[in-house]
Symmetry: none
Subunit: 173 residues, 4 copies
DNA sequence: TATGAATGAGTATTCATTCAT
DNA sequence: GATGAATGAATACTCATTCAT
């Protein structure tokens, strides 16, 4: 990928995340990316195509984040690693995740499939540990983590750190 | 409030909730409301003023939803009533709540103060019941309920009903 | 004329004079006049009708200003009284005169007929006093006075007072 | 400057001069200029920015008109050349000058500084020729010329030609 | 690949005017 | 006479997109 194309994607990610897809003009993306407006449309079919490209990148990044959990064989550690997920988001990835969460409201971009492997693994872990209702326990953990992730993205990591050990001990049988 | 002003608010609420504030043209609001576009600006200073009016109404509605919890004196019932909140959202209020959750990403409209009374009451309840960390328990419940509410708004009540008894029994000491 | 109608005319005169006819919204006139916007259109056919009414009033006021000159029999005094005209505009009439001068650019409102009597009288005076080219002398005086009046309206009387005696002595044979 | 940008300026100058800044819609400017309305706002920040661009061009044009007077060394000729100014306005520059005079009523655009050099030169000329009150004589000449220029712009050169020799002989000591 | 001028449909907003009360 | 809600056409301005270079 050329430098400029990458610039466009970075600028768009930043702007879409902070101001929202609709609120960002392609002219602004071009300015922030330091390229001509026309170039956006040479690299991407249209504005939506640019968003799609960003979201496609996402799938890969997300699966990389999940990999260590999926390869984990100790059920207790599966749960612990999952619980630690939101606390390990790097600052430079905030925009990326903000956009993911904002777009959850657009049916087109909300595909729960992305979480399915983690959900399954969690379910397996809870089953292994003898929990009564593994599927719901697993889903609940995801819910909790979503809310914490959103809070971190909005208010910063510090504000939520208190939950880290709290949750870990809560799920330590 | 005149009929037409109310029409505008209803149309705007519906459209803002489903398509997002920025994505909705005032001309569309007018058409859906069955009024002239100009009337929107006689009643509200500008498009944002219309959103503000909607969100101001919200504060009242929200406090009405919370009232029964705040007046509850039995700690166990406080928790139970709170847990039941998302499952009792009426269909006709979906738009209203969708908008609330979507706008959480706009700092201007996300004021956690709205939840503070419930949070305090929950904390009190957990303390009464001898939980080790009442503040975090309380906040965690809110997080869970937020996620469930969002899921209900997106996928319907049916998809989440399974959580109702699951949560109630989980918090039944 | 009712109070409110008069209010409208006063407000319109003030606003038209200071901001220009096109730049003033009828809603603003109504607000300044302290009446409903609808009332403007009950009293005047439309916005232009309001301007016309103002300009019709003008004709009368202007002829009153000119009367003392037209009745003067001493040619020297005719000239002197004319020269003193712009210096005797009362502050509260500034808006009125500003509007007159601004509208000179609209052919519809610039009618040189208004000045004709004064011009004729001046011409007669210059002829009486043996000037070589009375018509041009007369017209020149009007030109000078117009420029001075405009300067006074724009910058205040003080800035132009120096011209008063200068002109009087210049035309004192 | 591209062709189209120049077209816009020409169309705007023409329309602003004849109908007034506020009375001209940007859509009309675009139509007369033969460009899309959007282009106006690519080249100029907004409607006022277009006016500003026109008025900036003006400063240059005006100083070019004044140059021959400022370089003149014979005081008598300084006066004569000044007196001839309004009679030498070319027809194709009428719009330009109309706009200058119309905008004199907007404090933002009326800057007397533009005339200062000519005024100073005139004052010097009158002093050289032994006039009693050179500053006022100079200012008076400018006043007369303004009125004549306005009359020419409104009624055509023919109507005012009679003043040319009249004034020249008046100021020929 | 990259630019930047240009477009045309669309956007929020204003405004003169109407009308029921 | 007077109000104020309501309209619809117009206005300044924006934006995604195209295209010649």
């Amino acid at each position: 990928m050329t430098d400029k194309k990458e610039n466009i994607i970075q600028a768009a990610l930043e702007l879409f995340a902070s101001e929202g897809y609709n609120a960002v003009a392609t002219s602004k993306i071009a300015k922030v990316a330091g390229v001509s407006e026309g170039l956006i449309f040479r690299h991407f079919e249209n504005k939506k195509g640019l968003l799609d490209a960003i979201m496609q990148d996402a799938e890969i990044r997300i699966s990389q984040v999940f990999a260590p959990i999926l390869f984990e064989l100790d059920p207790q550690k599966v749960i612990q690693k999952t619980l630690e997920l939101p606390f390990s988001i790097e600052q430079k990835e905030y925009n990326f995740w903000k956009l993911q969460y904002k777009l959850k409201w657009e049916p087109e971009y909300h595909n729960p499939r992305k979480m399915k492997p983690v959900l399954d693994k969690l379910e397996w872990a809870f089953a292994e540990l003898g929990y009564q209702n593994p599927p719901l326990e697993a889903e609940l953990v995801i819910y909790i983590l979503d809310s914490i992730a959103i809070a971190i993205l909005r208010e910063g990591l510090q504000s939520q750190l208190k939950f880290k050990s709290f949750l870990v001990s809560k799920y330590n049988s």
